[in-house]
Structures are given as structure tokens and as C-alpha cells.
Symmetry: C2
Subunit: 356 residues, 2 copies
């Protein structure tokens, strides 16, 4: 893949294709908010006297809804920094170490981290949040999904936030997405009754026939979400795994059971509008003694080893399935990221930069 | 007080003044939604062969915001029944047993219960939820307030729902009310920094000078609640004790700290409007990992003995103060109840039917 641009005796310099962030975004992000360029070059060898650096070849990039927040200049209440106009986007990714002067990483290591730049090669100056991939008997791209932040989000959100019990009625929105598909499968394995919503009949089919949801519906075909929920969850909802916000949340609040739990994972329907839609039914938090809890998976990374121990065998035994939507090449990364917000992706959206 | 209407040899029949509920209410309740009548009479002695009955003389009646829900025909998600048009209102109250054929209660007992009718005398057919008052070295009216549902609400909401830590920044809305004044004092005793909002300068003065709040403000004089909160809680809010809902909740969400807790006790600003105001800032539940939990004190009554053990000495030692707003006579009960929704009351609103 790497095209040799110049060959000096000592070092190899190659093209480093990048996806640059153009400027802060209002409303829905567009492909034209990013630019793919091959202007940059990079040396594929580290100077030996610079300690603590890692040179990586990036393999898989993750497209996640939270990245919309990073496109704002003032991301109020931010837990990650905004993107810098003129610099590459960054996010969760999987990479291979090409060279390292960092004592904990060596050439050939496979790594995963939350700040992988959207480019072919990266010089990593801060290894603090990098994870060395130990299990390579699963697709490497899974480390952007089921074994990455979305997987931990589903695991923590369901088991730690929702306090699930056998027989609970669980409703998941954006249910075929990177997180939702796992929540539904965890809930089924836990003995719950599981209903999901998604934005196309193809996704509904996936929920029922691939992920084993008991019921699923296409919210775009439901003019009255409250009526739809009453039809699919006639006995009410014990656990709501919230990925979308807005009208769906309002309808769910009308259908929660006493003592219900709402894990607030995301509100993708709201990320591209300046004034978020008003939620009118919060009084049901009181009437039904409901707990609503927002959370961020990174706060629970101490559970990562336990999580891997639980989920790796489930994947190997085929008890959990994971669907990815792969696009090839950095050229297609902007449309993949933008597509998240119209629900274009079916399953976890991944960009393949290189396969090894 | 009791006016003898007719005197047969065997029984005494007296006037029984009542406050009757006229019909279901839309919008703000008015005094004219209730009618005070002296038409009814009652025999002040129970037939000896009817087992399990209690005849009570009602002493103190409690006016509580949740009663607004009972004025609706369809109180969706109700945990207590609607009032019956043509029958007396009912609510928390303190009464004295005049006669009893119930094995657990005898003449002279002081009782407290959630379904005390708004009338001078009541025939109680279901003693299930009655509490026999044991400690009479505090004002009896306190059993509608600090030693009743509002006290338990403050105690449970603060200690069980908010997981308070010393040094936490606590914000309480409707802070001089039956519940809020206690939450603030519990929080101060726990070593928290406490800020309250209320609807008049008189109440603000009470918060700062009687209840020992660190800061307090009159929300009616603040055109920008977000700015007010930033001024009074410049470091943000760890715990919000929610009594009002609406715009205050939206402003608080902008000011919560990471890991914050919101005890959702009431939303009095919303009870008289058909379509509740929209809450726009729930995305902060995610960004700041906030827990929001609705609760109903009756679900925690197993903690009542522990609560009494904790709070009785605090009252005796003067470490907790409790302010009541007493009106005299059933004639004034409708205006007292209606006044809750315009914030007319200063402190816990009680109606005195009889002092003993």
C-alpha cells in the first residue's frame, strides 16, 4: 500500500493519506466537512534517541456517534477534546506497531486506543490509553466494536447500570447498532424478553433472525411510538437501553414499569440539532420510581479483563454474533462517519485502512 | 367544637363538617373545586358488634403537592386513587381515636395515616396503613410533616437516593417547603455546601437565617436560572434535590458535576399544565455520568424506625428546625391546598381541624 516517495540512504519516507477535519460543524455533518489528502509524508523509522514514541500503521478505524460532539467548537461538558480544524480526525482504532522506542511496546505488537488518527501511519507520543491486543483469534476489527468501547458500553450499561433480572422486559433503541445488538444478546442470554427498534426493515430482520430478539419494529413506520411500544411491550418495560433520545424516550417513559431502569448510553437523534427536543414525560420517573443513569464506558475499564473473560468464549461458541459494516479505504471514511447519523450503516461501522 | 344535633338516649349524633371534592380538575385547582359543608352528621359511638372499626376525631390535615394528581380522572401511572367527586378529599393526617372495635387501637390513641378524610370525624374501615403515634413530646402536627411523609421523603431522598458525601455541593429547589427545608438541614449536618431556591424573599431569608443554608435565591427574580446557578454554585452541583421540574431542571442539568445525583422527588411546576414543559438538556446525563432517580417515600417505610431514631433527637436538641404554615379550620382547607401551587405557604402547609 505504501508508495515510496523518496529514498534517502537512512530512512524510508512514504505517503501518509489522512482525513482532515475542515472546520466546526453546525447541524448534520457532511462529507465536505472533512477532506481526504495525500499531501503528508512520514518516515517509517523512529530516531533511536527519542524515547517513548510509537510508530503505528493504522488498520481499522471506528465510526462512533459520540464523535459528533468533537465536531463542535464548544463541546460543553466534554469528556474528550474537540477535533482541531486542519488536523486529522481521531477515534477508536486498531493499529500495528512498526517501530517503537517505548519500553512497553515493540515492533509487531497489535494495539488499540481511543485516539487513533484517521491516517495511514501515526506517530504516537502518548501511549497512556493504548491497549495491547492479546487475543488474535478473533477478527482484529472487533477491537473497534465488540471488544472495544461499544462492547464495554453494552456490557457495563446492561450489567452494571440496568441491574437485570431474569424475566425482565428489555427494550433497546438503535438496536442493530454497534452497542444495541450486543445489549439485546446479553439480555437474551440473561433470560430477559427483548424488544428492539431500528430504522429499516432490513435491520428489523437482523434483530429477529440473527440476534434473536423476541420482537423488533421499524420506528420509521410507526406514526405513534407510544402505541407501538404498547403493542410490542403490552406489559410495560423494565429496562430501557437508551441510544436515541427525543420522541422515543418520551414514548418509553409512558411505558416503563415500576422500579424500571434506563441506561442512558446515547441520544443520536439529538446530536445534530442545536436545541435538543424537549422531553415531556419525566414525571414518570417519580410515579414509577425509575432510575435513569448516564454513563461512559471508559469509567469502567477496570472491568475490561472480566468482560473479555465473559465475552470471548461466547463469541467462540457462537452464542453471540457481531455484525460489522465495513468500508474500505480512508477515501470512504467521511461518508461512513456521516452515514451514522442517517442510520445508513447496518451494524458496527468500521473503516478498513489496511488489513495488516 | 362538636355541636349536638340530636340526642337520643343511646347515641350522640353530631355535625360532621366536610370538605367535598366537586369534580375532576383541569389546569390550576381553585377553591371552588371543593365545597365545605356541614350537612353530614355522625354518631360518636360505634355499634359494639361491628368488629375492626375505628371512629376518629381528625386533628391535623396535610396539604401536599401530590394531591393534585388525585384531582385528575385518569391519573396515569397513579400510585394512589383519584378523589371521588361528591366525597371528602383525603390525605395524610393526624387523628385521635374516639371509639374502636379494632383490636390494635383503643380510645385515646393518637394515629396518623395517608387516607385521613377531610372532615371532623371519620369512620375508619381499613386500619392497614395507620401508624400509632408513640412520641408525643413533639407537636402532633409534625406527624403530617417532619415525622410523616415529607420527613421520610427528605430522609430517603437525601440519604438513600443521593449517596451524599461530606463536601458535596447540594442544590435544593422549593427549598423552604415541607421537604426542602429538611433536605437542606440534613445536608448541612452531613457536611455539605447547601444552596436553595424559593419563590419569595421571605423564604430566602428563612433558608439562610433559620435553616442555615449557605446560599439561597429567589428564582422569581432570576431571569436566567443557568446564570443564577453559576453564580451560587460556581463549582457546579453534586446533588440536586428536585422538587419543581421544568426550567429549573433544565438549568440544573447544565450545572451538574461529573458523577452527580438527582433525586426526583416532585415537579410541582408541572402539575397544573396538561403538556409538561420539555426538558432539553438530558444529554448531560451522559456527558457527566449523572444518576437521576425518582422515588416514593412509602416504598421506604421499613426505614421509619431508624428515621425516627435519627431525627427525634435532632429536633429535641434544636439541631433541626421545622417551619409549618398552619391554617385554622376546615373552612380554610381549600385555599390552603390551592395555595401550594402558587407557593403561598411558607413551610409545611397544615390545616388544623381541632387541637385535641
Amino acid at each position: 500500500m505504501a508508495e515510496v516517495m523518496e529514498a534517502l540512504p537512512e530512512v524510508v519516507v512514504v505517503r501518509n493519506k489522512q482525513v482532515l477535519f475542515k472546520d466546526y460543524v453546525n447541524g448534520y455533518p457532511k462529507e465536505s466537512d472533512m477532506v481526504v489528502t495525500s499531501n503528508a509524508t512520514i518516515r517509517l523509522e523512529l530516531p533511536k534517541n527519542d524515547g517513548g514514541l510509537i510508530l503505528s500503521k493504522n488498520l481499522y478505524l471506528s465510526c462512533d456517534p459520540y464523535m459528533r460532539g468533537r465536531m463542535k467548537e464548544t463541546f460543553t461538558g466534554s469528556y474528550v477534546p474537540s477535533f482541531t480544524p486542519g488536523s486529522p480526525l481521531s477515534g477508536y482504532g486498531v493499529a500495528k506497531v512498526l517501530d517503537s522506542t517505548h519500553p512497553d511496546f515493540k515492533k509487531g505488537d497489535l494495539i488499540s486506543g481511543p485516539f487513533t488518527n484517521w491516517e495511514e501511519y501515526s506517530l504516537i507520543t502518548n501511549a497512556e490509553s493504548l491497549i495491547k491486543i492479546q487475543h488474535t483469534d478473533v477478527p482484529l476489527s472487533y477491537y473497534t466494536g465488540i471488544f472495544g468501547m461499544p462492547g464495554m458500553t453494552a456490557y457495563v450499561g446492561f450489567y452494571e447500570i440496568c441491574s437485570p433480572k431474569k424475566g425482565d422486559i428489555v427494550f433497546v433503541s438503535a438496536a442493530s447498532g454497534a452497542v444495541g445488538q450486543l445489549v439485546g444478546q446479553f439480555a437474551k442470554l440473561h433470560g430477559c424478553y427483548v424488544v428492539g427498534s431500528a430504522g429499516s426493515n432490513e435491520k428489523v430482520d437482523l434483530l429477529k433472525n440473527k440476534f434473536g430478539f423476541d420482537e423488533a419494529f421499524n420506528y420509521k413506520e410507526e406514526p405513534d411510538l407510544n402505541a407501538a411500544l404498547k403493542r410490542y411491550c403490552p406489559d410495560g418495560i423494565d429496562i430501557y437501553f437508551e441510544n436515541v433520545g427525543g420522541k422515543m424516550l418520551d414514548a418509553v417513559l409512558l411505558n416503563m414499569r415500576v422500579g424500571g431502569r434506563i441506561a442512558v448510553c446515547g441520544m443520536i437523534s439529538q446530536y445534530n440539532i442545536d436545541q435538543h427536543e424537549g422531553i415531556h414525560n419525566l414525571v414518570f420517573l417519580i410515579l414509577k420510581s425509575i432510575k435513569m443513569k448516564g454513563f461512559l464506558a471508559p469509567d469502567y475499564y477496570h472491568l475490561y479483563p472480566k468482560f473479555l473473560e465473559t465475552v470471548l468464549p461466547l463469541i467462540h461458541e457462537g452464542k453471540i454474533k457481531y455484525v460489522e459494516d465495513m468500508v474500505e479505504g480512508l477515501e470512504n471514511a467521511p461518508s461512513a462517519l456521516v452515514g451514522l447519523f442517517s442510520g445508513k450503516n447496518v451494524g458496527k461501522q468500521v473503516v478498513v485502512v489496511a488489513r495488516q
